[in-house]
């Protein structure tokens, strides 16, 4: 066990600095603002610091460590060239307020990414400012809100979300000040058009939905849904977290959506970094574009005087949307993430469709393989598909309810059993509509061998004696963590021994 706050080796600092610039009269902090008690930070030499964080890293699981079938999270391989590019000169030390002629490279990459996302989503204008999916949702909903205010339809105070929606959907809409109308899904996990029709009315500002939906099913009725909402005068919002399933095959635009967010940290391989950073651009149809946060990257043919500084024949510049809602992040969003995703995009280019095809191939194959191996092992009665379907999209759900009933083995037990076998567990207990749910998303970057082996292990876990499974995991750095204890005995920082 390496504990940061037990380190007190270096008498001074683990990072020595150059001598400061000298002044004529030394600068002074006002007397009442002088800090007398320094932060009780630890003192580590560089060797100790390196070893501590290396030790920590070894207690953490990432895609590089093993298969990470976390549903809804699109844990695909992060190509290493992206990291190289993010560390090239010309990004780390770039300030967003530098004049445009200092930023032609950055602006051109922004422009290219806006354009690419517009093409892929079938939208008219993209902004890269939102820094995560949830912020994208919030931003788009705010644009819709201002759009309606602008049109004098301020009475549209409701946002419809299916009960299987990701928590950020209702939370983002609520943060904008909307009332949430939740509609139940059908038995088979699909959207209930009747329920939608019943609630869509002149108070409806928008419906938020993801397609393929949270169960990994493509909502074939999506155009009908769009029509219902549009007929009621509302806007259709596409939660792009599942974009990995459909890129190049269909698009939110074709399905009738007005706005969409992208999770670049899912579809475009920005590494998740243990929880962030992400990037959550949004795309909108033309009627919503004037409300987007600014500035946007724009371009025009370069004048002859500009050609020397131009990166191609164009001059890139910032542009402010006419009725912009203003800003959702103080600068231009997560430029560093955008650049990584640009490199990712460039690798595929017009071939992005292959990415989605393989994501869907792998999901369906894994679903197939799990059933196959379970049958072989005689444990196929212990789970059922979370939804009936011939083909899933990029992910699928299983219900462990039968195991629960037959053996007292829960989805959580299975998850912990998988940890013992060197896998990250699938998402569990989401969506709530599937009892004892496991949500599995392999992504396109896993080999058939990995999928086959995982399926075997999955079946083996189900063969494990229930008692033993309740004890799992036993091979991980710690065993099951007591979350109730954590909440009851809140210890949110190092408990210093007070002098």
């Amino acid at each position: 066990m390496s504990r940061l706050f037990e380190h007190n080796g270096a008498v001074n600092t683990g990072y020595s600095q150059p001598t400061p610039i000298q002044c004529e009269s030394p600068p002074a902090v006002p007397a009442g603002l002088v800090r007398n008690r320094a932060a009780r930070w630890p003192r580590l030499s560089e060797p100790e610091m390196v070893r501590h964080f290396t030790w920590l890293s070894k207690r953490n699981f990432g895609i590089d460590t093993g298969f990470y079938p976390l549903g809804s999270c699109t844990m695909k391989h992060n190509p290493r060239v992206n990291e190289v590019i993010a560390q090239l000169p010309g990004i780390a030390d770039i300030h967003p307020h530098q004049p445009e002629h200092h930023l032609q490279g950055l602006l051109s990459i922004f422009y290219e990414m806006q354009h690419m996302l517009e093409v892929c989503a079938g939208m008219d204008q993209v902004t890269l400012q939102p820094v995560a999916g949830a912020q994208g949702e919030f931003t788009a909903v705010r644009c819709i809100q201002e759009y309606f205010r602008h049109r004098g339809e301020a009475q549209r105070t409701k946002v419809i979300v299916p009960d299987s929606a990701h928590g950020t959907n209702p939370a983002s809409a609520a943060m904008s000040g909307f009332e949430i109308v939740e509609i139940p899904s059908l038995e088979d996990g699909r959207m209930d058009l009747d329920a939608l029709a019943a609630v869509a009315d002149e108070t409806t500002a928008a419906m938020m939905i993801t397609n393929p939906n949270t169960l990994g099913l493509f909502e074939a009725d999506i155009k009908a849904a769009s029509e219902i909402v549009h007929q009621a005068g509302g806007q259709m919002y596409y939660d792009g977290a599942n974009f990995n399933a459909i890129l190049g095959i269909t698009s939110p635009g074709l399905m009738g959506f007005d706005a969409v967010h992208f999770n670049l940290h899912k579809t475009f391989s920005q590494p998740h970094g243990g929880g962030g950073p992400g990037s959550g651009p949004i795309g909108v149809k033309a009627h919503l574009a004037p409300f987007l946060p600014g500035p946007l990257a724009a371009r025009r043919p370069a004048s002859s005087g500009e050609l020397a500084q131009a990166v191609d024949e164009h001059w890139y510049h910032w542009e402010q949307p006419k009725h912009s809602i203003g800003k959702v992040q103080q600068w231009h969003g997560n430029a560093g993430a955008v650049i990584r995703c640009w490199a990712y995009y460039r690798r595929y280019g017009s071939g992005l469709k292959a990415m989605s095809e393989h994501a869907v191939l792998n999901a369906n194959y894994l679903r197939h393989a799990i059933h196959r191996e379970a049958k072989k092992a005689g444990v196929d009665h212990l789970f059922v598909d979370g939804a009936e379907t011939d083909v899933a999209k990029h992910e699928f759900t299983l219900s462990m309810q039968p195991a629960k009933e037959a053996l007292g083995v829960s989805a959580m037990d299975v998850a912990k059993g998988l940890l013992d076998r060197g896998y990250m567990a699938p998402t569990v207990y989401f969506p709530l509509v599937v009892p004892e749910c496991m949500m599995i998303e392999p992504t396109e970057t896993e080999s058939k061998d990995t999928l086959d082996t995982f399926a075997e292990h999955f079946a083996q876990v189900l063969k494990t004696d229930a008692e033993a499974l309740h004890e799992a995991p036993t091979t991980t750095p710690v065993r099951r963590v007591d979350e109730v204890y954590a909440a009851r005995n809140l210890c949110l920082r190092h408990p210093y021994e007070e002098a």
Partner: protein, 460 residues
Amino acid sequence: MNDVVDQLPNRGREAEMLLEMGLDSMEDLFSDIPEDVRFNGDLPLPGPQSEEEIISDARRLLGANIDMGSRPSFLGAGLYRNYVPAAVFQLVTRGEFLTAYTPYQPEVSQGMLQAMWEFQTLISELVGLPIANLSLYDGSTAAAEALTCAVRVHNRKASQPNTVYVSALTPPDKLSVMHNYCQGAEIEIRTLAHNADGTLDLEALNEAAGSCGVYLEQPNPLGVLDEGLTTVKSIIGDHTALIVGVQPVSLGVVEAPGHYGADIVVGEGQPLGSPVTGGGPLYGIFACSKPYLRLMPGRIVGRSIDVDGKEAYCLTLSTREQHIRRHRATSNICTNETLIALMGAMHMALLGPDGLRDLANRNMMACQRAKEVLSATPGVRLVHDAPHFNEFVIEVQGSAAQCLAYLDSNGIIGGLDMSRWYEEATSQILITTTDQTTLADIESLSAQLALWSTHMEVLA
């Protein structure tokens, strides 16, 4: 090259896999997608590129950007050019950190969980408050979320419900974020006036008492270290949250706001651990006192035990969050800035208390020297006679915009045109120095400003 086989391990095995599933073609996998929403043909985008080609294009494009490090630069205004020690990058890019998701399975995520718990402690100690979350998106959203958090906590007892006060100096981009975040909850944002010397008008502050919260910055957006802030809490009282925005490095020498009454401390974490990176990813610091805990935004890690009683860490208090409480969550935040916060933790761990003090001092010294040199530069006036951290406002001859363009044409990134923030301040520039500013940088700036003044005099 046209086929992205290197990233798709099952390229070439499609038939085999389909066959096993009883499918004929890849098309079959998409049989559920109606024809009328199908794309026809290829995406109208350029073809794929190899890694080598991408790198070479990236070099060309990013090489066209002008790096602050390549010339004297005095642009800051919320983001600060710094040096992040080598160990930080090399450790943070370890795959176990880089390629992990949010630590939902604590048993295999102890590394990041413990690191974030350590981050919480480091921030807590830094700002002088007992609780810190493990990052919000950036300084502006942290400030905005602090306002809505203050309203959630104090609205019931507030004599001015749904009302918060923020410094009139708040940069408009940050203020805009605040407006966006506050409007949903119908929170009114009023502004607090400042004195001519750049300090807060403590008289005017009285009107904020009874509101839900007051947002001020230390150093303030003009770079001024405002001693008056230490009396704010006594003026606004217990039922109004004092929210202080900080430049975290300053806290190596400047008192922690938690020690002078702040209830919430927020700030842009960037100067600790992260380069400026074109404005993102950054990380928003959010720390608070106990009463705010259950209504605060963002993730928190708690120390716990495992079934064997062994020390273990996990996410806790998640009932505040969107994945549990959905539309009644304290915030919609899900993905945050964990990795950048981790860089912050690494930088802080390396610095230690003495290193932080040294770093703060270097910033103070550079700023002071710049003030000394520029105050002696003909045609340049220091606008606020006050102690500063990182930055200060000067007045130049003629238009700030033109002066900055002149400096730019002489290879100097001259600072922020203050009229970008405050319309009337057309001949003012915010000059930012950091630990990375050299004496030579300052002297070039002074020399060019002197030339500019001469130039303007000739014109006059």
